[in-house]
């Protein structure tokens, strides 16, 4: 049995254990800064201290999630006798050739807090950005026509969006993310609707651009439709013939609920920006050129709205992370034993007053990721305003 580590030792070991992350960050920054003149808004980010700091935080967790397998010291689900609530740096009773310490201590079920936190990054970053992305595609696909065409369509869509927004989020979660609901058709039907939107989005996007060149159009649109419907069948109906795409009913349920809550807000933002931009000269010019409405929406308005949308996208990933944590806090949705931060905080908080490490590690992780995303958004906003 080895000796327990002291705090300097723990930090040294943590730094050592995270080596792939450091290398990746240094490489990324070296490459980005040397080419920043050619990288548009992304390059400009490196002129803003706040933005760069936020970006570093975000990339730290992204790389941690990517290289999680190299970083973890133990299986995040394995329990080790004698390590219940062990303090940071405790030595294992019987390492059996494995890593000899629990760097950040053990939780109430004698699992390694550090490994769970690292694997938790993977869980969180697997759902949050993806959910934010789908919400955005839905918000954009509906917000553009609502803002641009207006009229009855706008009234109807706005009413539905306001209806969803009038729901207290928590109530919606309690109603939607329940085991009884999982066994009904409701999540499948909602997923069938929600996941169809990205496919439609890309189809319309490419069709509007290339409909004058049928060869190219058929190729691009065909590819999108095939890949899109393939993923769609797997994700929404769990009917992928090749078994590549798929989601457990539980995850699907959570995912659908999170997207459902986020999409109306995005819709409102896109609609507002569209109504603003459609009065600009270049839109009028395109209209006189005789361009179709979808071309104008997708290729004239959307690119010009990208600044605020990118900023909101960063914020929304952060917000989605918080929402997932809220679900974990109420014990809804996410799979048990899962190392995702929300449920880990919830489990750890019970013994917080005596063994704070089990809850504090994921809490700090969650805070730093959301903080990073917010700072990144702030930096991007500042830089995009300088245009």
């Amino acid at each position: 049995m080895t000796d327990p580590l002291t705090w300097p030792g723990i930090f040294a070991q943590l730094g050592l254990q995270l080596w792939p992350v450091w290398i990746a960050i240094v490489l990324l920054f070296a490459v980005s800064i040397s080419f920043k003149r050619h990288l548009g808004l992304y390059g400009k980010l490196f002129d803003s201290t706040i933005g760069m700091f936020g970006f570093t935080l975000v990339m730290f967790w992204v790389f941690t999630a990517l290289f999680a397998d190299l970083i973890v010291t133990h299986d995040p689900l394995a329990q080790f006798s004698g390590m219940r609530n062990a303090g940071p740096g405790s030595a294992l009773r019987d390492p059996a050739g494995g890593y000899p310490h629990f760097l950040l201590g053990g939780d109430a079920l004698a699992r390694d807090v550090f490994s769970r936190m690292v694997m938790g990054a993977r869980e969180v970053l697997r759902i949050a950005p993806f959910a934010a992305m789908i919400s955005f595609m839905i918000g954009i696909s509906l917000g553009l026509p609502a803002g641009y065409i207006g009229g009855k369509l706008d009234t109807g869509l706005t009413f539905v969006a306001n209806l969803v927004l009038a729901f207290p989020v928590i109530l919606l979660f309690f109603l939607l993310v329940a085991p009884e609901i999982q066994n009904t058709a409701i999540p499948r039907v909602m997923a069938g609707f929600l996941f169809l939107m990205p496919v439609l989005f890309f189809t319309v996007l490419l069709n509007a651009r290339f409909f004058t060149q049928p060869m190219k159009r058929n190729l691009y649109v065909g590819a999108v439709v095939i890949v899109g419907l393939w993923a769609y069948s797997g994700l929404a109906f769990n009917a992928d013939p090749f078994g590549v795409w798929g989601m457990s009913p539980n995850l699907l349920n959570v995912f659908v609920a999170v997207v459902f809550v986020n999409a109306p807000t995005v819709f409102r933002i896109v609609r507002g920006i569209t109504m603003d931009i459609k009065t600009r000269d270049y839109v009028a010019a395109a209209q006189t050129r005789g361009e179709g409405p979808w071309y104008i929406m997708m290729w004239e308005i959307l690119p010009n709205a990208r600044g605020p949308l990118i900023v909101d996208f960063c914020l929304r990933i952060g917000y989605t992370t918080i929402l997932l944590g809220t679900l974990g806090f109420f014990g809804l949705g996410v799979a048990p034993e899962s190392p995702d931060w929300g449920s880990t905080i919830n489990q750890g908080r019970r013994l917080l007053t005596v063994y704070p490490h089990a809850a504090l590690a994921p809490a700090l992780a969650l805070m730093s990721l959301v903080l990073g995303l917010n700072l990144l958004a702030d930096g991007l906003r500042e830089e995009s305003l300088k245009d």
Binding site: F159, L171, F174, T184, D378
Partner: protein, 363 residues
Amino acid sequence: MLLFLARRIGVMLFTALCLTFVVFYLTNLPAKLETLAKTQAGSRISDAEVASWLDRNGYNQPMLTRYGEWLGVVPGWTREEADGGMTGRCYRLADISEPGAAPDRCGLLQGYWGNSTRFRADVADVITARLGATGILMLWVLIVMVPMALLVGVLAGMREGSRTDRSLSTFAIASTATPEYVSGVVFIALLASSAVGISPLLVSWGVIEGPVLFQGNARSALEKITFWNFFLPVMTIALYGMGYVARITRASMTEVMTQQYIRTARLKGVSFPNIVLRHALRNALIAPFTVIMLQIPWLLNGVVIVEVLFSYPGFGWVLFEAAANNDIELLLAASVVAVVVVLLTQLISDIGYVYLNPRIRIS
């Protein structure tokens, strides 16, 4: 203006109708009704007992009929009991059993909010009592949050890019990045634990008498609110809500500070504090006002988390209890209240915006 109000209220009613139907549908799925029967009549009862319980309590009619009953447009169900008395929705709500004594319809339109299965009490009583408790909590949250947010926002926005701005902005961002379930937990560990944090230190120095500085549980605030039992829940909600309002204030303030008339005033030699207080502040506060109003329904989320975390029985706590126990009529009433709060705050923010900003007129 009157027409505008009438239209808004019409939309509000229609929204509430749609919303309650969705809630009704989701809480009346067969599996949910089975859950309800088991929580009411015993968790280990058999399927036959579940069926008979649902039948005896009027849950076996078509869903639309029962939604109509709840609204008060369809007559409530009735059944003759073996002892000659009548029972039924309206008989139970009015607590009588003589045949013919109860009204035909007894729903929302007639003023009956129904019965809570979780609390075995009148929904209207439960909601009003709990809403009062939450009202007090929210009042204190706003009292703490609004001045703090405006102060931080104005100080930061006064001189854009200064060190004060940088540090205050980062603080505001950090506070929005800390959800209630993290900050609440950290607060308890830091301030309300007799084992860790600052309480043991204070006790050993003899500064405080009790074992802990603050109460980590707000149950006693129901009877008597003190600084010590109410501080933590209020701070937990206020902190999360504050960051966003502060950032909007800052943005609005920086915009105002670049306006022509401010520049003119500065060139005329008006002192900086005077400019901020006399000229900039009023215009800079329009945007935060609407945001604060819109923030209120947002805080509801935090209210649920905080009330559960600190076991303070308010509206959020009722929502949690009702949802966890599938208490149908209580959930419906709670969602009506939530919709009204959301839409009312929207309305106030719209009207206030017009009132504060004479350049905008409602068409």
